[in-house]
Assembly symmetry: D2
Homo-oligomer: 154 residues x 4
Amino acid sequence: MPEQSHRGADPGNKPIVETRFRVRFYETDQMGVVHHAAYITWFEEGRSAFTRAIGYPYSQLEREGFSLAVAEVNARYHRPAVYDDEVRVIVCLEQLQSRGMTFSYEVRRTSDGELLVSGMTRHISVDERGQVIRISGAFREKLLAGVGRLERGG
Amino acid sequence: MPEQSHRGADPGNKPIVETRFRVRFYETDQMGVVHHAAYITWFEEGRSAFTRAIGYPYSQLEREGFSLAVAEVNARYHRPAVYDDEVRVIVCLEQLQSRGMTFSYEVRRTSDGELLVSGMTRHISVDERGQVIRISGAFREKLLAGVGRLERGG
Amino acid sequence: MPEQSHRGADPGNKPIVETRFRVRFYETDQMGVVHHAAYITWFEEGRSAFTRAIGYPYSQLEREGFSLAVAEVNARYHRPAVYDDEVRVIVCLEQLQSRGMTFSYEVRRTSDGELLVSGMTRHISVDERGQVIRISGAFREKLLAGVGRLERGG
Amino acid sequence: MPEQSHRGADPGNKPIVETRFRVRFYETDQMGVVHHAAYITWFEEGRSAFTRAIGYPYSQLEREGFSLAVAEVNARYHRPAVYDDEVRVIVCLEQLQSRGMTFSYEVRRTSDGELLVSGMTRHISVDERGQVIRISGAFREKLLAGVGRLERGG
């Protein structure tokens, strides 16, 4: 799976989850391609699939009073997606710290595997008042148990 | 102000607020015009301007534990707005009931007054648990005091 | 299938397509539920699935120079969807005319079938310059061949 | 204007444009604050104001067959904006090359000047077929004439 190649020396040690969906019409803009901000929401949808795949859906985390606030986003745009394309969003947990984590992303066109967008997001664990807190032990365990697995979310 | 003409026999009895802004690029789609769902968010932005204009911003209402849940939306699309157009959103409080209200809308291109979209939304007053409740007396007073005024929000 | 009951005397004569997906996080707002404008984009996604299911994807129609401009939208909000819910969008072609068509929609929570939102959209067939034109014979044939089928898109 | 301080030794040599608007309700998510992808669209709205301020609106550029495709986006989130906040988006043209340019951004709360989000976008000049081309001479002139000015767009 060549899309793992940029992930460092030993990508097999990192949990990776893939989800697939089609480009929605409203995600396009007048340039005739997907608007660049839409991919940021696809990264998020990839994270949702990631947490479902490890058995600890983000919705559960939120019900327990935790959130993963976004501290940084980076996206590099290689080729545009167009309406009705099926795309794969591949999410990799790059780093797990006591109070945060970093994910990397690849968005690929399903039909030919072409890399469309790559990126990363950095997150901080916060409670309901927005205070930084340690990531809960139960969530951390699920994240670590996910290491090395390739799951298809969605 | 001809845009009041469709509002019935005595539009002067109803509070009307107008706000203006420019079409944002991401609001367009690959047809080269504003996506139809974007106007629904403009209606909402018009309501925000409306509540600011009467001196009881919706943000204050929410801090006090009330929301105006949307029960129904209708929009009729006459002409498309395009990127960078300045548009006017004209909001009229059509009906005020004990537990709800109805607004009507016109979206017009500022340059020539052309009617782009017309519509209505119906709302129900709910508390923080989503239970239907009476509209607070203070908010109702501000709404009624606004009758007949034409305000420019924004 | 009880959700067909409001569709008139003989719903079996109308093409119906269903598609399923999960609520995305960004579709929520600070009320903690899906923003009312998001359902309008779900209606659209339902139409995309509809055209794929009948074998004439909307993307193909657009490549051939036709669009189905939205002339009217109506949505009634019964219960809110929340983040991570799986929802079913059920689209029914209610009326097919020479230059337009009308779809009706139901959005239901998959887990218990609860009706969340119902609505309709009315469309006009336009060419690339926005001029109203007859719906192409090939597309019409596919639409009519779809009558009575229940397809799962997606 | 303290917000220029991070822009290097001689920020006065770079064109800077500021625009202001209020946070819209639909831009929030269930965390009660503005969704992180919304700021990316604010950067874009800042660029729109920038091009209007230098007298060469982006809409004109597009009519002439040019686009500034987004090649990279970076955003760092410092504090959240909330619904109804008035925010200032400050855009600085950091680099101008023959076939591209880089902008930096600050999003600040108007009431107290607090820095909410900072970021950058990198762009490539493309024609209508998506081919990379030189930035037109007329647009370049307007960009350079804007150097050192502080304009309020909107």
